[in-house]
Amino acid sequence: MTVQQEFRVVGSRPVRPDGVDKVTGRALYGADFNMQDQIYGHILRSPHAHARIKNIDCSRARAMEGVLAVMTGEDLQEPGSRVLGSGEGAIALRDLTPMVMAQGKVLFHSQPVAAVAATSPELAALAAEAIEVTFDVLPVVTELHAALAEGAPILHEDRFPDGQPKEPTNLATHISAQVGEPDAAFAEADVIVERTYSVPMCHQGYIEPHACVARVDGTGQVDLWCSTQGHFTVRGYTAALTGLDEGNIRVTPSEIGGGFGGKTTVYLEPIAVILAGKSGRPVKMVMDRGDVFRATGPAPGAETRVKLGATRDGRLVAADVECLMDSGAYNGNPAGFPAFLATACYKLSHARSVGRSVYTNKPKIHAYRAPSMPQVTLAFELVVNELAAELNMDPIDFRLLNAVEEGDSNMLAARYKRIGLRECLEAARTHAHYRSPVAENGGRGVAMGYWINAGLQSSATLNVSADGHVAVLTGSPDIGGSRASMALMAAEVLGIPLDHIHPQVVATDAIGHCDVTGGSRTTLATGQAVIQAAEQLVAEMCRRAAGEWDVGVEAVTWSEGAAHSDQGCLTFEALAARAGSMGGPLTVSSSLTASSAAPAFAVHICDATVDKETGRTTITRYTAIQDAGKAIHPDYVEGQMQGGVVQGIGWALNEEYLYDDQGALQNPGFLDYRIPVASDLPLIDTVIIEVPNPLHPFGVRGVGEVPIVPPMPAVAEAVFHSAGVRVARLPLNPPRMVAALTGDDDLV
């Protein structure tokens, strides 16, 4: 593939097309939409974290005036053994359905048990309380090692590790991978460092709670409006859970108020559809913030042991990685990626990696930005830093000696094409931040990270109006400025003014299938569909001009938004105006499964100072360097980098799910689950490296995910250098740092 290098508008920073609506409050998010004559749904949630449901008596709720529908888990389709394909992988219904509503047993606190729809939200809440549920309460386990211990309460008595029916355990998955002969290779090492680090369960923390409105009309057609990262996924999941035909469901995506992976599934939607079907009225549902924390899928907590060996001249010779991850109540398969990708930044011919995940009485984990990669990278990068220190080598020089480049493979056996990791490291080494002296009492940490990035399915349609404007339709919800990148790419190919391009995200029946906005894939894959469609439109324009001039199409060229030949010039606007007499309306579509996904790499530098009296850590300077391939709209590439960094800082320093011994979340709100606020942070400096992806026409790589991978080790390393102690458990919050500084091991 020829990768375009020179651009007319790509790489510029125009105001995003949806921007004015979003700064004036006009943009409609999940909870901002209402349907005529709608009623309101409310979910009854379990007060227990582990219990059998003996009986559900809905008679009192049903009898209340204004209550129009009641449902329980039995109204969902029996999960059976069915597996659904989805954007970022497959999911078994037995792991999906009970997250929407319990199937006979509750496995985490606040799991949905029943739901009602009534004429007001207050009445619906009262009616839900009137449902009487008899529970047989069971012992609870929330901690990873306790869940694996002998005699632990078993969450799934019908599930066996490796599919071998023996005694059931809470082991959800167990996978391993190996390249070379790591045991023999460690014998060649001059220096070996082995450490174990753990990270708590945390939440994506999107500001907009889940919300939807559903309507079932007289012919059985379902209209569903919701906030989601993927409305085609919502359609498929909702069909599977309700038993309705997918073709009868139309899902219209609202604007989405953050997701970070957390909105790539369904929670409310199948419930709203069933209640709407039962009541004959549209049903609106909005999730409470506490329930977002308690009962949607957080990111797994994890414990990772990393052993690395190197020769005295700084070559890594062997790696041994073992990761134990929290799956929550159902199988979220969190341990796959770390097992295969832990070593992905390094040339390592000998490595072993083991990933295990464990069932606990907590909500099933779900995707959060580069799922599972930050947890394992924390341990890996901190051990790399210790090795470099033992060898008296600069941590960036050590990484440059060992960094992967074109032709190297990772443990998924994927051979890298042209990648930009070395360029990122070189940029870090020469950056003013890295060359500046470290503040007195402060510390500096360096870490790097990798993410695989996704391609998957995307579609785009371009409709041309008679005045030469172009509607660019896709099915990829715009979570962070992707309308702007779609418009820039279309304008680049078509050669017409940017403000003649009108990007829209449209409903499931108005565009070909699009997988979720996730996996760093939207600008990459959906953008490629837009580029292809625009190229088709240019080809059609040239064909029509050739007909007009009575010349062969090979005699026509396209530039500056016009067809040219020795017969003259026909502009895009002129061809659009005469479309009716030159072959009919101008509309083109492109659908593809993108194979252009390219690995993303980033290098981060963090300066931090720990107040040794209070244990509080202040991030004083931060620089993120990342290979974007090509930044279509640099503002939004930088924004992804800065946002990912700050999420990683929050995870490193503060964010943590805290459960009591009965499995109730103790901090289900933004006051006690404290995400970073503006006054916690410095400006986040960014450097975009552009090593074009050879598989993409514009050289694009995904950018959204890798920025959250290096921050935890970069922060932890800086904290170590400031405080003088290494702490094996994150977050590095004030109590833990004070305990570490005073030698109180119980808290560390």
Binding site: V20, Y29, G257, L681
Partner: protein, 165 residues
Amino acid sequence: MSVSMNKLPVRTTINGEPRIFLAAPGQVLADALRDELQLTGTKIGCNTGDCGACSILLNERLVCSCLVLAVEAEGQSLQTVEGIAEDGVLHPIQQKLLEHGGLQCGVCTPGVVVAAKALLDANPDPTEEEARYWLAGNLCRCTGYDKIIRAVLDAAATMREGDTP
């Protein structure tokens, strides 16, 4: 708790226009703005005063409208995000958020716009630190705040230049 159908009339001025609406005694102002007046620019992220997405000005004072009862607005003057632009002309903070890419998903943006306007009304020349502390009640999970802070400081500079005769 019982469901009261007895709603009270509330007379207010919202974004310069007289508005009368009905509110249940326990209804918070954020819900009333959104559900009774269809002013859905005011977002609800937490309903506990922690996220700032529902920020409005109540008699020019910055408040979380999820922490104010709707009936408390009786006789008061409110400004919501819908009233920040005047006659279709964006306020400098709105314009600068757009120019700096100071929003990604945009759901915190209405609250940021209202809070930043209140800051610039109170302090036309804030330092970066003052801007960060003023906006510490407005959670943003997408941007890391960098471009928001740059936009606020740039808007302040623009407004100061505009004030110079």
